[in-house]
Subunit: 213 residues, 2 copies
DNA sequence: ATATTTTGAGTGAGCACTCAATCAATTTCC
DNA sequence: GGAAATTGATTGAGTGCTCACTCAAAATAT
């Protein structure tokens, strides 16, 4: 089995400290959960795919839900990336045009999506019926982490430059994701690759909707 | 328990022929599946909520999946409504403006969504991990049912009137739903009511994106 | 030799599903 | 009209199975 890379956040700390067998378990669980769903996957299956005894899952992750959380928590913490991941988008750059910014923002977030497709799929599916997880996401959404502040800075700057419409930042974010949403869902759940042309179209659309007026 | 109304399609034929107990089962299953998910709901629970013996579920619906399909199939058949449901939107009317059309279209589909919220939630959740269901949806999407043909007619007419951008109809539909998507998902899974103001904004946005140019 | 990790048969609980028995409505016969 | 017979719906204890999870023993590392 090829080793799985984890782009998600800095839980690589935790991940690096795991034994090989524990990594195998996480890896197998990600494959199975994302393919068949959490509820439809048994711990026996996971152990078999990970080439590990079933008991190993429980000595490491306490119970099945603990395994799920070990997979999901990193996503929750890095949907909005942490300091170490800051890309060009979030660094204060005087963008020449709104489209430039949109392009950077969308490609960066899409790279994150592609790098963590399986885990995000598990996360999204789980959020449908998991109230606590949903509450946490809603609560954390406008959290004052550095990423969000940085992004708000950029948006405010673009507004000052009269490149961006003068809406509040949440509404702007919602608009962007509304435009991207179809492609993202298609990619996550319908295995539709996001073509460059489609991405460009989405970026154009978002730019048009958010242009200064 | 107040009797549940089923706005979905004409499976009311089938539904009307059911005995009271069978209707109770469907109703209880819809409540439980939409709240906790199919996989997390036991037939014993359903029977208890329906005030019916567990065996009744199996004599009527053969197995648990049969019960799910009895709930889901009508949605699949009426995501695009059938003849009897045709509202103003789908009737050939010379719309004075693109916004008029958008308004009618969006409010009609939103009414459908509201009237069938639970069942659509079950359907959407199920489609994530059910390949066969997904295939059927993709296959049926541009099906030549009367609704779709009628809608295509309307769109073509709007194009001829130079009110609507000259894209192909699928792309137009995708654009509309992309704009509405955020509100729809929020309503389905986050219990966020769709405010009139938000709806109006969405309609404005869609109109702007699809205006003739 | 000791400590730690790994193992997998074993466990009770809960699952979807069965089926012989019971009940209720309708039909048959006198 | 009413008793008896027939039919079909309804019941829920019972069944086999799979599930998440345990733990004493075995393997491995120190």
């Amino acid at each position: 089995m090829p080793s799985k890379t984890f782009n998600i956040a800095l839980d690589t700390q935790a991940f690096d400290q795991m034994t090989a067998k524990q990594k195998q378990i996480i890896s197998a669980a990600i494959d199975l959960f994302s393919e068949k769903g959490y509820a439809n996957t048994s711990t026996k299956e996971i152990a078999a795919k990970a080439a590990v005894a079933e008991g190993n899952i429980f000595s490491t992750f306490h119970n099945k839900r603990g395994l799920l959380e070990a997979i999901i928590n990193p996503v929750l913490r890095s949907i909005f990336p942490t300091t170490a991941q800051l890309s060009t988008v979030t660094q204060p750059a005087p963008y020449k045009s709104l489209r430039d910014y949109m392009y950077d923002f969308c490609t960066e977030r899409l790279a994150f999506l592609k790098a963590n497709r399986q885990v995000i799929k598990i996360f999204v599916a789980e959020i449908i019926y998991n109230d606590k997880l949903r509450q946490r996401l809603i609560k954390d959404f406008p959290a004052s982490n550095r990423y969000w502040l940085q992004m708000a800075d950029n948006l405010d700057q673009l507004k000052a430059q009269k490149l961006l419409v003068n809406w509040d930042n949440i509404k702007i974010l919602k608009t962007i994701w509304s435009v991207m949403g179809g492609s993202v869902l298609g990619y996550l759940f319908f295995d539709q690759p996001i073509k460059t042309a489609t991405l460009e179209q989405n970026i154009d659309t978002a730019t048009r909707l958010l242009a200064y007026r």
